[in-house]
């Protein structure tokens, strides 16, 4: 009997599998759900474990799935901490009641107010600046000024943009809504769309490659993508320009974390969160991915520092979450794919 035997094997396998998956008792540990991928977060966890003896167990996934998961698991969730790579999803997690406020002198001292939740439910840990990158052979820095200026007719056929589906662009537009109001923001986005040299591209790296190859002259990217591209291809005729320095400053987003509402290892999780805001981990953020430290007392990595210092937009990054849905709708209306 072939099939029933298969069935028995299957049953046996599933039993074993169930056992494998059963929670094992551990010494002190923190369980983390992270949308920041393994290569960019495990180095920090490793140092934390070495320093404190507290183990870190983590699972990676995309933000939407992690939020749905936390919501569904409710108070039985094994997760103590949620890490994302944008403020929008942290804002949404707080709004959905998945996080808890954390009172910590260390965090208050290390993380500037505009990079954390006003209710202290989450904290930005590294800064991701979204700025202008241009082709040095075709654009003089003097021609560039602001994000808004890229909507002017002089950039017609000279602009490349990444798809509006990426949260980085949604956050940028959300911040513009906060600053200028919807009508003006929509006008600016329409201007961008009218200036596009080619359909929006699937990622920041591609957009910069198009600028370097001469399809267009300028684009908007997160700086660490620029750093990576230059490391691989130092001859690229690309340079960074910091926009809006006379006005509101460069748009920044954060990769950050919060403690879950039903954390089982709350004390250890807060210890980890504090650790991530301190010197050792802050240096690592720059080292593994050329991001800017959120803690203003920590100097950025050498490579990153060479791009120059800039004025950040001081508006609280939570705004990006609040206005994200509005930004998505606005970009749909403006025909920004």
């Amino acid at each position: 009997m072939l099939t029933p035997r298969f069935g028995r094997y299957l049953a046996a396998t599933l039993c074993c599998a169930t056992l494998l998956g059963a929670p094992a008792a551990h010494a002190e540990q923190v369980v983390v759900y992270t949308a920041r991928i393994e290569q960019l977060i495990k180095p920090m966890f490793d140092v934390f474990t070495k320093d404190t003896g507290i183990a870190v167990k983590f699972v990676t996934d995309n933000e939407g799935a992690l939020l749905a998961r936390l919501k569904a698991e409710g108070k039985n969730t094994p997760a103590d901490m949620l890490i994302t790579v944008d403020a929008g999803n942290l804002w949404e997690a707080a709004r959905a009641g998945l996080l808890q406020p954390v009172e910590s002198k260390t965090l208050d001292a290390n993380i500037p107010t505009h990079l954390r939740d006003p209710q202290k439910q989450w904290f930005g840990l590294s800064v991701r600046a979204r700025t202008i990158v241009y082709n040095t052979q075709k654009v003089k820095p003097g021609e560039l000024s602001t994000y808004e200026d890229l909507a002017e007719p002089k950039w017609k056929g000279r602009l490349c943009l990444r798809s509006s589906k990426k949260v980085y662009n949604q956050s940028l537009v959300a911040m513009m809504i906060a600053e200028h109001g919807e009508a003006k923001a929509e006008q600016i986005v329409r201007g961008w769309v009218a200036n596009l040299a080619t359909d929006p591209l699937s990622d920041d790296t591609r957009a910069m490659e198009f600028v370097a190859a001469g399809k267009c002259d300028v684009t908007l990217v997160n700086t660490y993508y620029y750093g990576r591209l230059l490391a691989k291809n130092p001859a690229s005729p690309l340079a960074i320009f910091w926009p809006n320095q006379a006005g509101s400053g460069v748009h920044v987003n954060v990769s950050g974390a919060g403690i879950t509402k039903y954390a089982k290892n709350e004390a250890a999780a807060i210890k980890l969160l504090e650790f991530l805001s301190m010197e050792k981990a802050q240096h690592l953020y720059a080292e593994v991915n050329m991001e800017y430290p959120a803690n203003p007392r920590i100097k950025p990595d050498e490579v990153v520092a060479a791009w120059g210092s800039f004025k950040q937009n001081p508006m609280n990054v939570a705004t990006a979450g609040e206005l994200q849905a509005a930004a998505v709708k606005l970009m749909d209306r403006a025909g920004y794919r």
Binding site: L14, A17, V59, N76, P200, K215, K329
Partner: protein, 560 residues
């Protein structure tokens, strides 16, 4: 006798209905079989039900917004993409299947298995590599510009035609595999029959061989279509907006899982309707098995016919496999030293184990499903089977959440009960176990295993059953001794497809894997999530190589 069985294969709608195919009336009723499709359907209905139940949640503002802005364009995009992929995979898959199964041309033996290899390459990987090579910044266009000047014209590769081409290259193996299976067992015979009816070779192909292979072809095309409708990765690389784009935008962009689920349920309704229509047309036909020995004498192609056949096979293999995998290989060689470590063996082991277990489970369930539907060919059962195979049309992340949410609910309820009744803290009992993961895989890939097994089952005529029964074989004995040998190639096909599909699968693996159970696909996700595509090449190459294992095993089984 040959001609009789074959001639009824041709459409014969007036006299045969789907109900009269099997002499089920004189069989003793067995309620166990009766229940199987409904149980499986109920299981698959868990995620689908979660998705459908969202229909009454308020999200009308998002709907209004979508209808007023992007939805019409998305629907049009989706329609053209679906049409393109359906006709493209049918054309390419059937031609290649016919050539390798029935004809003889230089390289036929090699191509007959090599043409399956693209199955192991995830579509979004092919998409990324192809764009890298052929888009504005790629080597081809760069070279053209340096010869012909900066304004050298080149067709827009990121357009509709580009997506369709990549998806056809990625999904044609579904059609190829199933159609080839059909042609191998009946192709040459059907031509002989056609000749005896006075048809020439071309007429014979279109009037007899093709209609006879219809359920296999339709099954393969349906898989390609469902895969296309559920796809997010490939269209994202092209920034080509489809219905799935709207689903993810509503969810991730506007934080409305409700609106996303509503859009997804609309997609399901459309797919369900397509399945019903396709099967209604098919139900009026009847198929018979013929001996496989007829394969011996093939139609030998000569001259430019042979050249064209080889060129088509080689061209397909080149663009669908050699080119993307070659590029991946070059990238992987670059990142091998810094990224390869012992963990890769663990990723590989997890990928292989999960795929094997999922293939085993999914094929067993599909076999039970097909068998139960055969014994009880009534409308309710058929609908249950259709529902049971719908999971494949649901975008992966939506299905993963649909599965996860109710299970977490059940887990919480169990924990609550344990606490109240026995005062013990259980935590999460069923979540984070491989069982849940396998169940979710099954929900997603049942269509993939059902299609080939179901097609193979159509080969088993009522007269075979009667003969077996007259020998005193019944129930399990009949399944094992009479049906399984005939179904063997269908089951192998199913297992291969599921194995490779599970290995490539990302959202369910990400969401339901227990701590530490990272696979090669998870590794690819980690790399590509932050745009490090070239580093993703290493796990991608490993995935392709691992995917070759079942494909080679499969070919050895069926090519004996």
């Amino acid at each position: 006798m040959k001609d009789e069985t074959l001639s009824v294969a041709v459409q014969n709608g007036n006299t045969l209905s789907g109900f009269s195919r099997f002499p089920s009336s004189n069989r003793r009723p067995s309620s166990g079989w009766r229940l199987i499709p409904f149980l499986v359907a109920a299981l698959v209905l868990i995620p689908i039900g979660t998705v459908l139940s969202s229909f009454f949640a308020p999200a009308s503002d998002i709907w209004q917004h979508l209808v007023a802005t992007t939805l019409p364009g998305l629907l049009l995009n989706t329609f053209w993409l679906a049409l393109g992929v359906v006709s493209g995979t049918a054309l390419l898959g059937v031609s290649l299947a016919w050539l390798t199964a029935v004809c003889e041309f230089p390289g036929r033996k090699f191509f007959s298995w090599a043409l399956l290899l693209p199955l192991a390459v995830p579509a979004y990987v092919t998409a990324f590599v192809m764009l890298g090579l052929f888009d504005f910044t790629g080597p081809l266009q760069t070279a053209l510009r340096s010869w012909l000047g900066p304004d050298a014209w080149f067709p827009e590769v990121r357009g509709r035609l580009g997506v369709i081409t990549v998806m056809v290259l990625a999904f044609y193996p579904y059609v190829y595999l199933l159609a080839r299976n059909a042609f191998l067992t009946q192709g040459k015979r059907s031509l002989e029959a056609a000749q005896s009816l006075g048809y020439n070779r071309t007429q014979g192909f279109f009037k007899v061989a093709l209609p006879m292979a219809r359920p296999w072809i339709a099954g393969g095309v349906m898989l390609a279509l469902m895969e296309t409708l559920a796809d997010f990765g490939t269209v994202a690389v092209f920034n080509y907006d489809t219905f799935t784009t709207a689903i993810y935008k509503a969810w991730f962009g506007m934080f409305s899982l409700a609106a996303a689920s509503q859009l997804a349920s609309l997609l399901l309704v459309i797919v369900f309707a397509l399945i019903v229509v396709e099967q209604q047309v098919r139900a009026r036909m009847r198929y018979a098995e013929s001996k496989q020995s007829a394969r011996a004498d093939r139609i030998t192609l000569n001259g430019w016919h042979a050249g064209a056949a080889t060129a088509l096979a080689l061209g397909t293999l080149f663009f669908a496999f050699l080119l993307p995998v070659g590029q991946l290989g070059i990238w992987a060689a670059g990142s091998f030293v810094q990224d390869f470590d012992s963990r890769y063996l663990e990723f590989l082991w997890h990928s292989l184990l999960l795929s094997a277990l999922a293939a085993l489970l999914t094929c067993t369930v599909a076999l039970l499903l097909v068998y139960a539907a055969r014994r009880h060919p009534d409308a309710a059962t058929r609908n249950a089977v259709r529902i049971a195979t719908l999971g494949y049309a649901l975008p992966g992340t939506v299905l993963a959440v649909g599965m996860f949410v109710p299970l977490a609910g059940l887990d919480n309820w169990l924990g609550e009960m344990a606490l109240q009744l026995f005062q013990i803290e259980t935590g999460l009992l069923i979540q984070g176990t491989l069982a849940i993961m396998l169940l979710a895989y099954m929900t997603r890939f049942l269509a993939v295993s059902h299609s080939p097994i179901d097609s193979a089952m159509r080969r088993i005529t009522g007269s075979i059953d009667e003969a077996a029964m007259s020998l005193g074989l019944n129930g399990w004995a009949m399944l094992r001794r009479v049906h399984l040998p005939i179904l063997k190639s269908g089951i192998f096909t199913a297992a291969t497809l599921v194995f490779v599909d599970v290995m490539k699968e990302m959202p369910i693996t990400l969401m339901t894997r227990p701590f530490g159970w990272d696979t090669l696909a998870v590794r690819i996700f980690e790399m590509t999530a932050e745009g490090a595509w070239e580093q993703a090449a290493l796990p991608a190459v490993a995935l392709v190589l691992a995917g070759l294992v079942p494909i080679i095993l499969f070919m050895r089984q069926t090519e004996k």
